[in-house]
């Protein structure tokens, strides 16, 4: 079985300051990991993905994430927050043994001017 835990349900930062959204996973197999962003009443957009290549993954809109197997973590970071980054973020694990996606509970990012 696999699971994903997003450690913070809400994160608030000031515009121009760094963003850190935390994600821990558990998986019986070598996982693929994803971060998605969802703006209000919209579908989910893929930010970045890790599929057993480079452990530091760069995504769209300046986001990146680092896969740390020893810590079973896949935290999402951005050096400088923008107002348009305010949204809900989901960490997702795909067990490479199957077709199932498991979602974390989501983290709502708020950006203050």
């Amino acid at each position: 079985a696999q699971s994903v835990t997003q450690l913070d349900s809400h994160v608030s930062v000031s515009e121009g300051t760094p963003v850190l959204l935390r994600c821990n996973y558990s998986s019986s197999y070598s996982p693929s990991l994803f971060w998605y962003v969802q703006h209000p009443n919209k579908g989910l957009q893929l930010l970045l993905k890790y599929t057993s290549a480079a452990t530091l993954v760069k995504g769209i809109n300046g986001f990146e994430a680092e896969f740390k197997k020893s810590e079973t973590s896949f935290h999402l970071t951005k050096p400088s927050a923008h107002m348009s980054d305010a949204a809900e973020y989901f960490c997702v694990v795909r067990d490479n043994a199957g077709n199932m996606l498991t979602f974390g509970g989501g983290t709502r990012l708020m950006v203050k001017p």
């Binding site: 693929s32 009443n41 579908g43 893929l46 077709n99 996606l101 989501g106």
Partner: protein, 111 residues
């Protein structure tokens, strides 16, 4: 290029009425298809997934059902809606163990 269409975007239905939400994918063959529900302030809950025509796996027992009459068509249905069925419904597709691509969602309000 691949696209996913999901409709309607919003829907208000009375309790006890039927439901049909449709999702179609273009530009790919034999995708895995998914229906998720997102209740207010909560994460995504997988409702159904399908690896092929007529093959449906249900993850959560409830009064919803899903069908896949064609390779790239996935339908979510209910015979009688409950208040608790309100939420944001998302269709998604993926192939070959890669990332999933999501539709724009349907906001369902049961009144």
């Amino acid at each position: 290029s691949q696209t996913i269409h999901q409709w309607p975007a919003t829907l208000v239905q009375p309790v006890g009425s039927p439901l049909s939400l449709e999702c179609t994918v273009e530009g790919t063959s034999n995708p895995n298809l998914y229906w998720y529900r997102q209740a207010a302030g909560r994460g995504l809950q997988l409702l159904f997934y399908s690896v092929g025509i007529g093959q449906i796996s249900s993850e959560v027992p409830q009064n919803l059902s899903a069908s896949r009459p064609q390779d790239r068509q996935f339908i979510l249905s209910s015979k009688k809606l409950l208040l608790s069925d309100s939420g944001f419904y998302l269709c998604a597709w993926s192939v070959d163990g890669a990332e999933a691509f999501f539709g724009q969602g349907t906001r369902l309000t049961v009144v």
